[in-house]
């Protein structure tokens, strides 16, 4: 009749341990999935920040007598730029429902002249944003070209 007596303590402990490991693994996996989803959402925000500045660059009037600030030449390494009103050298990457900025980043603008045979005023413009989220660094950049309207 010993066979009907049930599982041994060791068997139960092994089973509980396996179930615990599987459960912990599942929860950790879902937590990682959440973190990745949040990172992807932030990347969407970062892309839009860079894209809106590239679009502004391409949309501004630019003549010999009127050079928009966004098209002014910078050092080759770029300079910090912000398109909001905070004047703290940062831009909001993610703003939550109560208006609090969850993640902020540094936007860098690089505008350099492009030499050409006819000496036209042509510039290469690059916007790059750097930000951190949960201890990891992220970067997104776009580059375009622009010629003077004159």
């Amino acid at each position: 009749m010993r066979e009907l007596g049930g599982s041994s303590l060791v068997e139960i402990l092994v089973a509980v341990t396996l179930i615990g490991i599987a459960a912990a693994g599942t929860l950790q996996t879902m937590s990682i999935l959440n973190r990745n989803a949040a990172s992807i959402r932030l990347l969407t925000n970062a892309r839009e920040i860079v894209a809106r500045n590239i679009d502004t660059t391409l949309s501004e009037s630019w003549s010999a007598s009127n050079q928009p600030a966004i098209l002014a030449l910078t050092p080759a390494s770029g300079s910090v730029y912000e398109d909001d009103v905070t004047l703290d050298n940062e831009v909001a990457v993610a703003t939550q429902s109560d208006g609090v900025d969850l993640v902020r980043g540094v936007l860098t603008r690089t505008v350099v002249a492009v030499p050409n045979a006819v000496n036209a005023d042509v510039r290469r413009i690059k916007f790059q944003i750097n930000y951190s989220y949960r201890g990891r660094d992220f970067t997104y950049a776009l580059t375009t070209m622009r010629a003077i309207d004159d």
């Binding site: 929860l27 989803a37 969407t44 949309s59 993610a94 429902s97």
Partner: protein, 306 residues
């Protein structure tokens, strides 16, 4: 006397039952806690992905249409009325935010008007003939009823709306088309026979955030001239029904002037709140982190905005 060998196992002692119940309760609580945590994580994950997907889909859908806008979008409210709140000329700043915009989407150009004789088209004329190229390299489409023909004229551009279309014969790479308008021109359009008069074809569309129950919908009205009944569901398609309904979330569109030369940009401040897990996540996420998403961006239009 024979005895039943199982008699000693026929029941549990009170202590055994108590221990068994305690172990069962602990195991059950752990299992429920695990399932609850899993459900919350799953709800957060779905909400985070959906809010991202909803927002990107909305921006891409609007961008797809607005990239074809021939002129700067015009801000409107939920009645379709124009919101005239642009910054004064020469000033830098944002307009008042609005619930929607309408814009003329370019269908095709150029169309060459056939001179009707005399000085040109009369104010009482309600039809015109024109030619279009059918070359595979440049072939604006045949106009359709509801399209609007933009004809440069002084003092203002004319915009007669097409009522009927009669596509005529093809001669080489050119097709002649007769159009009738929904009304007479109202003003004469004069030009010399020796100079071609060209027109462009547009179609007025609108994007509008409208209330729908307790929430807001971002709708696209494919025909906005004349303005349709805004709540007739056959007149619009829903881009997203997950637009927030708190404060400024109802008015995501605005224009901004960027310098003293009156450059204007069309800007979007779009905020979405996904539907489905509001109760589950009500107290489980700070600032509605997973279910809420906001993007501020610029949508360029076809012609450089000025």
């Amino acid at each position: 006397m024979k005895t039943n060998g199982l008699a000693s196992r026929s029941a549990f002692t009170l202590a055994e039952v108590a221990v068994g119940m305690a172990v069962g309760i602990i195991a059950g609580t752990m299992a429920l806690s695990y399932m609850r945590t899993s459900a919350i994580l799953l709800a957060k994950n779905i909400s985070a992905n959906r809010s991202n997907n909803t927002l990107r889909n909305a921006i891409d859908s609007m961008g797809d249409r607005l990239h074809g806008a021939l002129t700067m979008p015009v801000l409107i409210d939920t009645t379709g009325s124009v919101v005239s709140s642009l910054p004064a000329n020469g000033t830098v700043g944002d307009s008042q935010p609005a619930a929607g915009v309408f814009y003329d989407r370019l269908i095709g150009d150029p169309y060459v008007l056939i001179h009707p004789g005399g000085a040109g088209l009369l104010a009482s004329d309600s039809s015109v003939s024109l030619k279009r190229s059918i070359s595979p390299y440049a072939s604006p489409p045949i106009p359709a009823p509801g399209d609007v023909l933009l004809i440069e004229s002084a003092p203002a551009e004319m915009r007669p709306r097409v009522a009927t279309v009669n596509a005529g014969a093809v001669n080489g790479n050119v097709q002649t088309i007769a159009l009738t308008f929904t009304s007479s021109l109202g003003s004469a359009i004069s030009w010399s026979v020796s100079r071609p008069k060209v027109a462009r074809l547009v179609h007025r569309e609108a994007l509008l955030v409208m209330p729908s129950g307790t929430r807001r919908e971002l709708r696209r009205y494919p025909t906005f001239e004349p303005m349709p009944s805004l709540n007739d569901s056959t007149k619009y398609s829903v881009i997203s029904n997950e637009i927030g309904s708190q404060g400024a979330e109802e008015t995501p569109f605005y224009l901004t002037t960027t310098n003293a030369f009156e450059n204007k940009l069309f800007k979007l401040d779009l905020r979405v709140r996904v539907i489905g897990y509001e109760r589950v996540l009500a107290t489980k996420e700070a600032n509605q982190f997973s279910a809420f998403m906001r993007v501020q961006t610029v949508i360029p239009i076809r012609s450089r905005p000025k």
